[in-house]
């Protein structure tokens, strides 16, 4: 058995959870007079599946947007892989190794499945304009190398049959899967999933849960996800953050969270008698 780092531990199902990859420290985000996120701190550890839950409008998506640099918080610090992250543009954050999927599918509709997933690896391509223009030398080698990597993702997600189909023609469930593929192709250190199971039926949800677990298990990818289906969240995540009205009201293992009276109040309402 390998020596574990001091702050690592092994889960019941044998996965190793490492030290924190991402630390959010006292994040506050305001839009004019509206405070979307109020003084929230939490961390995401290496190799874990971290869920963010909360009622509608709690600030969960805003939190993901802060993580991948789309919103810049007025207060607080973001630490990624042991270093404080300066204010960055979203594409720079993506190049650091944070990939995401979207609540409403945001695929490139005019492109094929293959091209969509290849785009996920665009940041790793280095060939210059002239090499690309002549499709010769580095450009060709790169295209072939990255195609091989993309084919692995395609095999993994079992979407070989739709490889060359424009994504606009695909059914919803498959589009969600292609979007996951595009994020995976970037080989992210941290994968953010914004409601990966929204609008799916039970069978599709089971498939998607299986893919999320497999991604985490096989590639060791750290995952943060927002989801409304409590059954799924409690089943697959290691730790859960609960938000309500921009504040953190709970943080811990699924069992802890389930027993937390504040969380029960937020979801079921509280009797004022």
């Amino acid at each position: 058995m390998n020596e574990l780092a001091p702050d690592s531990y092994v889960t019941d199902d044998g996965r190793t959870i490492g030290p924190a990859v991402l630390e959010m420290k006292n994040i506050t985000l305001r839009f004019g007079g509206v405070t979307a996120i109020k003084d929230i701190s939490f961390d995401i550890r290496e190799g874990e599946i971290r869920a963010i839950i909360g009622p509608n409008g709690a600030g969960k998506s805003s939190m993901l947007n802060v993580i991948n640099g789309f919103y810049h918080p007025q207060e607080g610090e973001i630490w990624f892989r042991g270093a404080r992250r300066p204010s960055m543009k979203p594409y720079e954050v993506a190049r650091q190794g944070i990939a995401r999927t979207f609540q409403n599918i945001a695929l490139f509709k005019g492109m094929s499945t293959l091209d969509n997933i290849m785009t996920g690896r665009n940041t790793m391509m280095r060939a210059g304009l002239f090499s690309q223009a002549l499709w010769w030398g580095k450009a060709e080698r790169e295209e072939i190398h990255h195609r091989e990597q993309v084919e692995k993702v395609i095999d993994f997600l079992e979407i070989q049959h739709i490889r060359k189909v424009p994504v606009g023609r695909l059914p919803y469930g498959l589009q969600k899967r292609v979007e996951l593929g595009r994020a995976l192709a970037a080989e992210p250190k941290l994968l953010l999933l914004d409601e990966p199971m929204a609008g799916m039926n039970v069978e599709e949800k089971e498939d998607m849960s299986r893919f999320i677990l497999d991604v985490n298990d096989e590639f060791g990818t750290t995952i943060a996800l927002i989801e409304h289906d409590m059954g799924v969240v409690m089943d697959i995540s290691d730790r859960v953050v609960v938000m309500d009205y921009g504040k953190k009201i709970g943080d811990g293992t699924p069992d802890d969270v389930r027993a937390n009276p504040d969380v029960i109040d937020a979801y079921l309402g509280v009797s004022h008698d």
């Binding site: 993506a94 490139f108 509709k109 005019g110 091209d115 060939a127």
Partner: protein, 358 residues
Amino acid sequence: MLYRTTGQFKTSYRTDQALFPIRQDAFLLTIILIFAWAILPFTASEFAFQTLLIPVLIYALAATGLNILTGYAGQLSLGTGAFMGVGAYACYKLITIFPEMNLLIAVLLSGVFSAGVGVLFGLPSLRIKGFYLAIATLAAQFFLVWLFEKWPWLYNYNASGAIQVPNVDIFGVAIAGPLATSQAQYYFVLGVVTLLTVITINLTRGSLGRSWKAVRDMDIAAELIGINLLKAKLMAFAVSSYIVGVAGALFVFLWRGAAEPNLFDIELSFRVLFIAIIGGLGSILGNYLGAILIVALPVILNTVPELVGLEIKSATVEHINVMIVGALIIFFLIVEPHGLARLWQLIREKLIIWPFPH
């Protein structure tokens, strides 16, 4: 049957990513290339060279340039005519300042100037989109044409305010100017257009092309997966304006022979845009189909009625031409926004099983 693709297995990613992975496509293209390079130049009449072949190639090239910007990167531009003008004036200045310069080099270099101007006028695209960007490029259109008129250095202080193409020859063969033969001009244009078309195909299927299409389809998602929007858009403006500029240089040097500033008016911008729309946005083939249609239509309207004995005044032909083009644009925008190229694709899909029903 005719387009049967079964049995054409690919055993490596290299063959799957080949320029024309389907055998029939490669076959058709070979035939077209043989026609363009070996048969047409020796059989076409002077009239055909000057009214059909050369203009089709030049307009197709200009539309290819616009298509990169509008069809692939999703940035609408109404300044194509003016960018062609930048290429033409740049080529004129290069040739008159360095008379020893090879025309091919001058033509390819003149694109660099229009690329620079294109990037400059592309800068607003980072902040504004759609119609508003179209207005910004419209400003470029009017400003540049005004500049062509008001800056005498551009036309070497010529009293007429126009540029006149001097006699230019490459290795003793007259290519441009009054002495040049149509056949030599055609070969020159064909060479440049073929080269730039191959480059365009390669760029649009590589990582740069994917980043353009990503910006076009969903720019926020593109940025969140690591595409630098600034770089992708400015590259689109640069490459697009480069090709448009080269097309402009060919337009004046290898076809018109002389140019006044108003040649590069908004009307030219619109003609190129119509070619791109009718041919198909986001397609390379479409530029050729669109150019053939737009260039050949007035010629057909001029000659066919005469052949069947009808007498139509040339002014009437002009009106009919404008009406047909206008109707076609409305037709394509409503029925087939992806243009003639899409129609060809549909035909191809049908031919895969034709004549069998299943």
